[in-house]
Symmetry: D2
Subunit: 309 residues, 4 copies
């Protein structure tokens, strides 16, 4: 198995490392701005015992927007498609992930999809639980099940840092509350949302999460489905149409792997049927995607014919 990816992965990581200098780490979230932009890591998991990993694969980072696919899956499991999509749309958008204009110009002012911030906030507000502690514990358990890693928790410092600087997300939330898309206390929602974004993983965890999504929601070492197959499929569709911010269209063409990125530099990939990919590379391009990560996925897709198209 090592022979399958081993040397290739090593070479690919070397090859994309040079591009890290073209990007820069997210600086609008104080706790993210201290990341080392030269780091690159990749892990591939195909359901057997171990991941194939290269680079700084032990490096921990926070999920950030990657958490949007997980809360979407959980909200769909909690409430079903019909209810969830009465609160958030299914359409990609050419606008930036944090844009507010469409909420005003579209009637009704439902967020266009669950992968932009407005939509992810609406989705997070749907997670069942009698308190934020309970909601977060449910989400953490979900992530632990998907990754098979019981140690997964969230980074309190990052969560706190984001909570304090989340004014744009507050603006989005209050706007949606005004229009009935959200109900409930906004600061409580923000507390949950920033903690969800601060869940900490390494790229092997991500690869396993990607595998479960790829494998119809099933984990090879567990008996039960973690995500119903239909929901896993639906989530992957969003990863294709709007998983890479407003570079999703180009990514679909160049790479063609259902994937979701976060501004921490992480990317999860779910190649339908058999392969999960976890990436880390905190140097970001202008649209918020890992510079080296995008290149790496392009190499992998091309080498192993992973595109779904």
């Amino acid at each position: 198995m090592v022979c399958r990816y081993g040397d290739d992965l090593k070479m690919m990581v070397e090859q994309v490392k040079q591009y890290t200098s073209e990007g820069k780490v997210a600086d609008y979230i104080p706790a993210l701005s201290v990341a080392d932009p030269s780091k690159v890591a990749v892990a591939i998991y195909d359901g057997n015992d171990t991941c194939f990993s290269e680079g700084n694969f032990n490096e921990k980072f926070t999920l950030q927007s990657i958490s949007k696919v997980l809360t979407l899956a959980l909200a769909l499991m909690d409430h079903g498609e019909k209810y969830v999509f009465s609160k958030v749309g299914m359409e990609p958008t050419g606008d930036p992930f944090n844009s507010i204009s469409k909420l005003e110009t579209q009637i009704p002012s439902k967020p266009l999809n669950p992968m932009i911030n407005a939509g992810a906030l609406a989705v997070s507000s749907l997670i069942k639980g009698s308190s934020n502690e309970e909601k977060l514990e449910r989400l953490l358990q979900f992530v632990r099940d998907l990754s098979g890693n019981d140690q997964i928790s969230y980074n309190k410092e990052v969560a706190q840092s984001e909570f304090e600087t989340a004014d744009l997300n507050r603006a989005l939330s209050y706007f949606m509350k005004q229009h009935g898309v959200l109900t409930g206390d906004v600061d409580e929602l923000l507390d949950f949302y920033t903690k969800q974004c601060a869940i900490e993983v390494n790229c092997e965890d991500l690869a396993k999460i990607g595998f479960a999504l790829a494998n119809q929601g099933k984990h090879p070492l567990q008996k039960n489905d973690i995500i119903p197959a239909e929901i896993a499929r639906l989530v992957k569709t969003f990863m294709v149409t709007c998983g890479m911010y407003n570079a999703s269209g180009e990514f679909a063409i160049r790479v063609g792997i259902p994937a979701k990125s976060g501004v921490s530099g992480g990317i999860v990939g779910a190649v339908p049927g058999n392969i999960g990919i976890g990436i880390y590379g905190p140097a970001l391009d202008k649209k918020g995607n890992s510079v080296a990560g995008m290149r790496l996925l392009e190499l992998l897709s091309s080498k192993y014919h992973l595109s779904i198209f």
Copy 2:
């Protein structure tokens, strides 16, 4: 003096009363929705002892957006033109008063003018005072000086009702905070802003406030200027270019009096040099202006040649 306006005013009020059925009271602020839509009142003050008043002139109502001209004057007195207009623009906009889109599409995301909500919030954040109590007391004293009415205060119930339903203004505020237009605590700002909107007057108070603005900031019965002449002039300019929401252009053509309306149905008018006008009529048109009040001002302007154009 009675002969000057007396019979005319009475007749005009009768004439415009019929239009009240074409409008409806603001219903998005619970405390405003209970107003009687058939009410109409007018007061004219020309600097002598008494106002000429007709209709329900004892009826009290809250300033709402009319307060925007008063906080603008006070902020200009507190900080000077240069600083204030580094936080808020001077340009009219074709967008609704509560729109958020321009904050996103314009760079820098400075509100276009102090008469739309975003701009008024930015202006209110500038009022000097070590606490909201002190700021509010300063503003109330300012309104009492302008109106010569020591009894003026704010309506706690209306303020509370608006505070609880001010999600759109919260969205605007957090958006501006994200972009550095606002600093400080948003809920504290909203607390002050909703109290400022809830300051309670009758139309004779408004007529006297209008007179002071018209009379270069001077009150006839007081020795000192209340507003420096230059600031009074500047404020009246905004009343012309953007005082009547996004019907300001048409109002300038049809009426031509510097005026500011509020969703409570009040309108203050300041005919340069000698006349202040106070109007009340809670039945609003679609743009948020008093239906009967607009008609009444058109009649007054036409009859007494009050247009500045």
Copy 3:
């Protein structure tokens, strides 16, 4: 083979026929408004001799927006990826297909993708040929090769009708010309564009075109590739991310087949690897897609597991 789809198709067409009354034919193009809204047809082609067809499969209709995928393929063959995507973007948009706002608010004002009108106009301007006659002849030959139908031509009456009412497309074109995205004469471009939209097919032709796209650009009865495999793949990616107007996201979830619709009521589907689908049903939903056609594709996708996700 008949047994494979025969009875199913018949039943499915019956089943979706009832939904035709929920839609209405495009009325903003005079020549389209005369279509019979109750018509429904489907054809499936898997590379063998004949199509499996049901309903009004002999009915001819014009390609309209379906032509966008064909001119995109041809422009890519004429100029290569790099040049084409210097003129048009790769990102889906939540805006309607005929929207102009993004051209103004995005800098540079490049159309977001080749499936919206602005982008399709930019792509059509790239088709090689010394005259419109030559360009059109090249495009027609391309469509004839893809469908294996030498009789394919365009409907002069429809082209003329669209040319006369194409003021919105003229507005888009002149806007792009102002911003250097387009060069050349706009009316000449419109002449070509409206003729391209008026190319006339039946659903069996569409099924064969879909098959070629699905089959890496190859036609089973022809030796040579008609479209290079890489371009066929690229085109299908756009069909997934933005092929069904601003219902593409929902369609990807519900159906998951690379597809492109037109306001004539046609839809072409390309199931990767082996199946081409042609649909006709002129009763449209509010977003411009065939009401019955959407339902039919959902049934097909569900029954035969055709989703790529």
Copy 4:
């Protein structure tokens, strides 16, 4: 009389000349780009025999957007208020003069006011005449009457140059045609519009035109009204709320004179009741107004208390 302005004017022109280096001439219209940016001229006309003029007052320049106030007056005389304002709105806008977005986002897609390009195009389409020659002759005669200068004509070279590069105005026109705001042939409208913009004057002509607007539409040396008083008033209102592109609000505050500028560097001012002002200074600021002209008007307004506020 010379004593009234003479030395002041000379000094003021000297004073503002230094600012010309901060601006630059319009370069998007080839024929305008050759103007000498260091030129400054002013003329003041108060109804007596001669203008008080300083600087390059014999320099001829084209009206450009200044023509918008003249076609508005003529269209109102041709059709009356009600009809004209069914085609164009009365509200100022914060958008640039050549913006198209609002036509899409506002329903109905009526241009916001007659001072932005879309609105001016709609207004020009209303000028009565059986041919463009007749329309233009009527407009030229109107300008000759207003300025008392029989020699006024249009600059063919400038008109031709603008016609060839008017793609944005074509886009606006076709967009409005699609939405029924405009009817008729767009190129014919553009032919008239670019000729209207190319009408050539010097700043003394402008001062006299400004005087007529200021003087209720009357010319002192002519018996008849040229513009009905009510229409002159209405036009001046637009000059205040939207005469200086999207710097109109600031101009109202700083200067307070009804005025209209053009990208040629001309500005006409109409001080209600008695003074007309003509300005020329082709070095423009970023919003399209004459840098030196704006300063000069500020000095004049301040020195002679010309503000209407």
